[in-house]
Amino acid sequence: MYGFDYHAPQSLSEATALLAQHGAAAKPLAGGTDLILHLKERRLKPRHLVDLKRIPGLDHLTAEGSELRVGAVVPLRALERAIAGDELLQATVGAGLRQMKSPTLRNRATLGGVLANADVTADLLPPLLALGTTVALHGPGGDRVLPLDEFLLGASRTALGAGEILREVTIPRVAGGRGFFQRLGLKRVGGPPLVIVAGVLVPGPEGGVARASLVAGAVGPRPARLPQVEQILLAARPAVSGIEQAAAAGAGEAGAVSDLWATKEYRQEILEVLLRRGLQAALGTGGDR
């Protein structure tokens, strides 16, 4: 493996000082399931690894009230356990989590690591974005909170500045919300996703929906909201009458691209099918499988 110095700071200020001092030559280390692999394959060559796991206050997981607050170094497995009794989070975050890596890697991989790596095809991102997740950052200049959507700039690119650390992730619990997660991958389990779509809908009067948040992942350069789909669903009475039109609109607006795994046209067709299935499941119409 590439040579580097390992640091285990005991406080946030010590960690930010190390990261600021070494700049681009330093990388924060959480679970390491991606980072250590990158080091072995020499895709990354940091001179310094700054382990965040010894810092008090980064490993909390509180599920009280209207939100779930998750410290940056909380393993994915702990998050899976914490949401076990929550129907909406199970249908969205839980379903996405089960596609991430393997159960044993999820014992080590952390939520903060997944987000800070900005793997834009990660199954977890569309559910988190649909729920309106925010991230708290700590840096030499103090703290700031960003919507996850603004934190993720693109493939392997985030809004983290020099010396800044992803400290906490806040996942809102949308009262009365119904959610779905649909994906098609190259393989039934694991393998790169070709299309992911997640949604959160809040039922409203006259069989309509009062709130709709839909996010497609792995179809374009980064996960993207589907505002036309949301508008169609918000206007439809009852909401189920808008499903066909919404699914067709989603295929067009997701910015699908062609790559090694699938063509743009294939992704659009699959997205339409997955959107229809997800909306039918979330709006309780059963329907085609």
Binding site: M1, Y2, G3, F4, D5, Y6, A8, L29, G32, T33, I36, L37, L39, K40, L49, D51, K53, R77, K101, S102, P103, T104, L105, N107, R108, V189, G190
Partner: protein, 161 residues
Amino acid sequence: MKHPLGVTINGVPYDRVVESRRTLLDFLRDELGITGPKKGCDAGDCGCCMVLIDGVPMHSCLILAAEMEGRQVTTIEGLARGDQLHPVQEAFIRCGAVQCGFCIPGIIITAKAFLEEHPNPTTDEVIEAISGHLCRCTGYLQIVDAIMAAAEAMRVPPQHA
């Protein structure tokens, strides 16, 4: 950079000095001669290097030895009590679940932790639990059978002390 490291492995405390870049797997195998954990893919795909860290199964090839300060590590060597094999080990032998054997120490580690948390699993749950493991002999059916048999053995209290 070198680090003093105090870590307990299979109940034995070790005080060593390790290089920053040393993985836990290489530390166990090359420095301590604990060769139960195997180096298969060295990338977190095959699960042959699985160890328990404070009771939780983790791929030791993707962990730095230096990260283990103050931790309790258990390898396959730490499961037996004297001459008495762990029920999961017994079940693997009884069910003929071991072919070449390279993947087995890791799978037994994962199965032990899984069964302690899920004493009455379905086969689907077992398959999901070991999905971070690869068996090149493709002996998965017997491996799943062995884990189901071990679950039963662990549910029945032993007849003697």
